[in-house]
């Protein structure tokens, strides 16, 4: 018996989100009186694999083979399901990101294991095994009972803090043969070096109240100064003021930073659906009755064009820049 956690890597490296995932899996294992085992797919060196031990993984299983070079959901599902069966995993934890979403539901069917998707807390109880997940796009949460012996959980991003422990993980290389993938990646277009919106702990986001693409400089500057990323509401990306990958909300990206600045954003339900899991929301809006203030913890009622430069100046002062 054990808890298996799939830790994705990005060009051979793990991210903070990988460590959050392992920390979570270790806590779940503790609740069940067992230990956490991580599985890594692809080419990751031993030193990097060892890092997972610092967050509680007792063992790290490394699978590396040609048929797993690109993310093919069938091939990855086969590989992870085989590892789960070999070690007798009772719970499999996967990230609720694009890759996790393409693997976890398949694992659920393959192993006839109930899926708890987008879980944002430790299980409420282990018997019956009950998880807490987002429902109605953040309008509510649901306590869902996973009724099978084996369970699959996808953990919402940024919903669990990393917990460091002194622990030396055993690294095991496992050979697992999987069929050749049916999907073929023809071309990859990647922008590297940019902080990803879904990884950012601080996000500065602008809405239609910013009036024009030309007014974005202080938003970008504030985000840069805070080591954060920029985002926007849907009309802004529809207008072409900002790139589509910044569109946040129900029909764009769903994010959960620690600090979310909503500048000139009214706070429509569809926008809030994408940001309601942020730890703190700061609103800047010239309309005191804008719904964004109902979900914000900090607010300024004022003109963004006047307020933003002063915020930038204040941050510069604090950071000594």
């Amino acid at each position: 018996m054990s808890v298996l956690v799939y830790t994705e890597n990005w060009d051979g490296k793990f991210k903070k989100s990988s460590f959050e995932l392992v920390s979570y899996a270790s806590k779940v294992a503790e609740m069940m009186g067992t230990s956490a085992v991580a599985v890594s797919i692809g080419n990751v060196d031993e030193a990097e694999l060892k890092l997972l031990g610092n967050y509680g993984a007792q063992k790290v299983i490394s699978v590396n083979q040609d048929n797993l070079k690109t993310l093919d959901s069938q091939a990855y599902t086969s590989a992870i399901a085989s590892v789960a069966e070999k070690i007798g995993a009772k719970v499999i934890v996967v990230a609720n990101n694009n890759s996790g979403k393409s693997i976890a539901p398949r694992l659920s069917v393959r192993l006839k294991a109930a899926l708890g998707a987008g879980v944002s807390k430790l299980p409420i109880s282990t018997s019956p095994f009950t998880v807490y997940k987002r429902a109605f796009s953040g309008g509510a949460y649901a306590d869902v009972v996973l009724k099978t012996d084996v369970k699959v959980i996808t953990l919402a991003q940024n919903s669990f803090d990393v917990i460091e422990t002194a622990n030396n993980a055993v690294i095991e290389k496992m050979d697992i043969s999987v069929d050749a993938p049916k999907t073929q990646v023809k071309e990859v277009q990647k922008q590297s070096g940019k902080l990803l919106l879904t990884d950012a702990e601080i996000v500065v986001s602008g809405g239609r109240g910013m009036k024009s693409a030309d007014n974005w400089a202080p938003i970008v500057e504030l985000a840069d100064l805070l080591g954060g990323a920029t985002a926007c509401s849907r009309p802004v990306s529809d207008e072409g003021w900002r790139p589509h990958d910044e569109h946040t909300g129900q029909t764009g990206k769903i994010i959960a930073p620690n600090l979310y600045f909503a500048v000139g954003i009214s706070g429509a339900t569809q926008h809030i659906a994408g940001v309601s899991s942020s730890k703190y929301i700061v609103a800047i809006n010239n309309d005191k009755s804008a719904p964004i203030f109902e979900v914000a913890q900090y607010g300024i009622v004022g003109d963004a064009q006047k307020v933003l430069p002063q915020l930038v100046a204040a941050v510069k002062e604090i950071k000594g820049k």
């Binding site: 429902a135 049916k182 922008q191 129900q250 009622v301």
Partner: protein, 249 residues
């Protein structure tokens, strides 16, 4: 080529949800039901592909797992332009069960491309599409922002962290679609609405498959602390507050 678009029937996205029966069920009083936004866009893309003769797409079918009460939503899909519709007569309470029902439909009717949305706005599971594929042993591609058919083969754009991948995949397969798949949802024209009234919705009785999950209860989101307002004349105070109270700056 035949396309199947799976549609979920969800409360209008502006609905403030409430619950009944000891918070175990959605209070459906006064709720406006709509096609899940992603499914509306995937239907739009399927119809665009059909409109283009070079793709060889001959028909677009919609499938829905739900009770008779969701027929208006299915009619809407027909009015937008779907050729025909299938309803599996079961209460959709668990993604595994829903996917199993859809897989049965596909086994009987045979489709080349099955389209699902990245998530339903009510269950938010992001599960049904990939589950259907696994039940059928088909490849699936997630986070699809573009789907084209070139010389009889599907060419898919998949969103990845900080970029895109262009993928080719042999039919039959499941495409799980997200932002980008179509610009604006297609709207039903008068002619479509008239025609939809007479189109038959094919009814399937569900196969016996246990649900693997059960919703014990719903909860409202934890209340957030009330907003602390800072004077617009002194924005610096906001940064000082954030620094002192959140320790994030």
């Amino acid at each position: 080529m035949k396309i199947l678009v799976c549609i979920s029937n969800v409360p209008d996205t502006t609905t403030k949800v409430k619950f009944v029966d000891g918070d175990t069920k959605l209070d459906t009083n006064g709720i406006q039901w709509v096609i899940n936004p992603w499914d509306e866009l995937s239907l739009t893309r399927a119809l665009e592909l059909k409109d283009d003769a070079s793709t060889g797409v001959k028909s677009v079918t919609v499938a829905h797992v739900g009770l008779a009460t969701s027929e208006p939503t299915i009619r809407k899909a027909l009015a937008i332009g779907a050729d025909d519709a299938i309803r599996v007569n079961a209460d959709p309470t668990d993604a595994y069960n829903v996917a199993a029902q859809i897989a049965e439909v596909v086994k009987k009717e045979q489709f080349d491309i099955i389209m699902c949305g990245i998530e339903s706005s009510d269950f938010n599971s992001s599960a049904v599409g990939s589950m259907v594929a696994e039940f059928l042993g088909m490849p699936s591609v997630s986070a699809v922002s573009n789907l084209k058919i070139e010389n009889g083969t599907a060419v898919i754009t998949r969103e990845i962290d900080g970029g895109k991948e262009i993928i080719s995949v042999p039919a039959p397969f499941v495409a799980i679609v997200q932002k980008g798949i179509a610009k604006e949802p297609r709207i039903a024209a008068m002619r479509g609405i008239m025609m939809a009234r007479t189109k038959a919705i094919k009814l399937y009785e569900p196969v016996a498959i246990d649900a693997l999950t059960e919703t014990a209860k719903f909860e409202m989101p934890a209340a957030r602390a009330a907003c602390k307002f800072v004077d617009a004349e002194n924005p610096k105070q906001l940064i000082e507050l954030l620094q002192a109270e959140t320790k994030l700056i």
